[in-house]
């Protein structure tokens, strides 16, 4: 019995976790609209100056994708929705960059999106859906192909595999070995993990492996390649079981983005980026900027 072999511990800093992400890669970002986005990782990508990314937003995505677009990191977006419900029905940078042709949008709805992720997970070229037949989707997204199925001759839509090089996922708990637990359903994040080559998870809290073994049913998936501890790491978005959306902060972002996209005034957004993204060197520095009073005011109860 060798005493040299040891199970590898995977907890790393956000900086080390993101080193594997290169310009031009395809990344997925988990969560759902105003909840559960790995913001420490998102801000780290912007700090690193990543460019030309294909971003697979969640079904459906929020302003975390919008921020990456506004920061100049994105070439293509694959997401059935990018917005923040009543705070911003459509992401401001998503809207402007799409209208001006500065990003490509790979148009799809949620059902087609999951079909594409499933194809990637099963190493198939495509998965068929009925959804999209008769609509504008195959016309505006030429990757979606209408065809007659070989078994029953039905008209179907082939959705090609949607494959992340790296999946970035936010979760409540992770242990040192890459076991991941959500509070709640975890939205569509498992589908991201299954489709991706590699998964990085950012968690509120690291828990010991013994806790995982007590309730293995709660383990949503194992096999994260890196685990990053980032308390309040979904801020300004919500974290189920921990805190709610920071509405004033999101409004501050929307105001800054709108000033740039609607009035061509970059001051507010430059200030936002300096204060919240480039100024703080790490996630904990970011939390210092937000401040304890604001953070604790966001608790659910």
């Amino acid at each position: 019995m060798s005493s040299q072999l040891k199970r590898k511990e995977l907890v790393v800093s956000e900086e080390e976790a993101c080193r594997c992400i290169e310009d031009g890669m395809t990344i997925s970002i988990g969560g759902f609209i105003t909840s559960s986005h790995p913001m420490a990782l998102v801000r780290q990508l912007i700090r690193m100056g990543r460019k030309n990314l294909t971003v697979i937003g969640a079904a459906s995505a929020g302003l975390e994708v919008d921020l990456l677009i506004g920061a100049g990191c994105v070439k293509k977006v694959i997401a059935p929705y990018v917005g923040a419900e009543f705070l911003a029905p459509v992401g401001p940078f998503f809207r402007q960059y799409a209208e001006q042709g500065k990003i490509k949008v790979w148009e799809c709805d949620e059902g087609q999106y999951y079909a594409g992720l499933r194809a990637a997970a099963q190493n198939l070229p495509y998965m068929p859906t009925k959804a999209g037949v008769g609509t504008s989707f195959p016309e505006i997204n030429p990757d979606l192909k209408i065809y007659q199925d070989p078994v029953q001759g039905e008209t179907l839509l082939a959705v090609p595999a949607i494959k992340p090089d790296v999946a970035l996922i936010f979760a409540a708990f992770g242990d040192h070995f890459g076991n991941v637990q959500f509070v709640g359903a975890g939205f569509g994040d498992r589908a991201h993990h299954r489709a991706a080559d590699k998964t990085i998870v950012q968690v509120e809290k690291i828990i010991p492996n013994e806790e995982i073994r007590k309730h293995p049913y709660q383990t949503a998936f194992q096999g994260a390649a890196a685990v990053v501890r980032a308390p309040f790491g979904s801020h300004p978005f919500a974290s189920p079981g921990f805190y709610l959306e920071d509405i004033p902060h999101i409004q501050e972002y929307v105001q800054a983005a709108t000033a740039l996209t609607k009035e061509n005034n970059p001051k507010l957004f430059d200030r936002y980026l300096e204060k919240y993204v480039f100024g703080p060197a790490t996630h904990l520095d970011y939390l210092d900027v937000i401040g304890a009073k604001r953070l604790f005011s966001l608790f659910e109860y």
């Binding site: 759902f32 609209i33 105003t34 909840s35 559960s36 079904a59 459906s60 997401a79 059935p80 929705y81 990018v82 917005g83 419900e85 029905p89 459509v90 998503f94 809207r95 402007q96 799409a98 209208e99 001006q100 042709g101 949008v105 148009e107 799809c108 709805d109 949620e110 059902g111 087609q112 999951y114 079909a115 992720l117 499933r118 859906t129 009925k130 959804a131 999209g132 037949v133 008769g134 609509t135 504008s136 989707f137 505006i140 039905e154 008209t155 509070v183 709640g184 359903a185 975890g186 939205f187 569509g188 498992r190 589908a191 919500a238 189920p240 079981g241 709610l244 959306e245 659910e300 109860y301």
Partner: protein, 264 residues
């Protein structure tokens, strides 16, 4: 008397009650994004006549029939609503069997055309240079293709929204019309049955599948509807008023579903 027609209600309350009557006990429903009035309708149906319904609530599935007062929420993801959960709603699994989780739903749009097609993609001739980029279809393409029946709900009734032909179709209603509009593509679901706006209720003529006025909301004239619709509506010779809520429905709506009065 609980089943007396109510006398004092807002247009949003009228719409919510009307929509709640479209939903039957035992059905499974979803409460959607940015749709306060349909949300109220689903929850009212559940509390008024749907003890066997299940609803998707805070990304969980649950039955709320015995809950005295539903707390208002601003975001679909408000986890405080999960305290009633009977099960969790894993998103990609829902799409593995969408008709098992959704019997009917409500869809909006940047544009709705005379055949009930919906556009959430954007406005403009050229997709690569849209005049107005929309939010995206969310799940409406799959739902409108597969689900038993659905309803169109609009927050605004104007010529910009109700158009002759959508610039892009993200949810297929009745296509370019005709009795085989959906069957010719082999679409699985039943299609849109009604369109509801702040001015009235509309259905689709069975042969042509063109939108037709069915009910006028109180205080609205046919002229007002024609003036604000960007295509030629079928107008029947006699148009009844939208049936009003009963006192009982309004009581449940105001006391248990919408205690803060957002619909008033």
């Amino acid at each position: 008397m609980p089943s007396d027609p109510a006398k004092d209600f807002s247009r949003n309350e009228l719409s919510a009650v009307f929509m709640s009557r479209l939903i039957q006990d035992g059905e499974n429903l979803t409460v959607g994004a940015a749709m306060a009035v349909p949300r109220a309708a689903v929850l009212l149906a559940h509390l008024h006549h749907g003890p066997n319904m299940s609803v998707q609530y805070a990304r969980t599935r649950t039955n709320l029939f015995d809950v005295p007062v539903l707390e208002p929420f601003q975001f679909l993801t408000d986890w405080r609503g999960s305290k009633w959960a009977e099960s969790y709603y894993i998103h990609e699994e829902a799409y593995d069997a969408i008709t098992k989780v959704t019997d009917c739903f409500f869809v909006g749009g940047l544009q709705i055309d005379q055949y009930g097609n919906s556009n959430l993609i954007g406005i403009g001739r050229d997709y690569d240079r849209l005049k107005f980029r929309g939010p995206g279809a969310v799940g409406t393409c799959t739902l409108s293709t597969m689900v038993k029946r659905y309803y169109i709900y609009l927050n605004h009734h104007n010529r910009r929204t109700l158009v002759e032909k959508c610039d892009f179709i993200s949810a297929y209603g009745w296509g370019r019309g005709g009795p085989d509009a959906r069957t010719k593509w082999g679409l699985k679901g039943g299609g849109p049955e009604l369109c509801l706006t702040p001015l009235g209720v509309f259905d689709f003529e069975p042969e042509t599948k063109k939108m037709r006025l069915k009910y006028l909301h109180p205080g609205v004239t046919v002229e007002e509807i024609i003036e604000n619709t960007g295509f030629e509506l079928i107008i029947p010779p006699e148009i009844p008023l939208t049936p009003p809520p009963t006192e009982n429905e309004l009581t449940i709506l105001r006391q248990r579903v919408d205690p803060l009065g957002h619909l008033r």
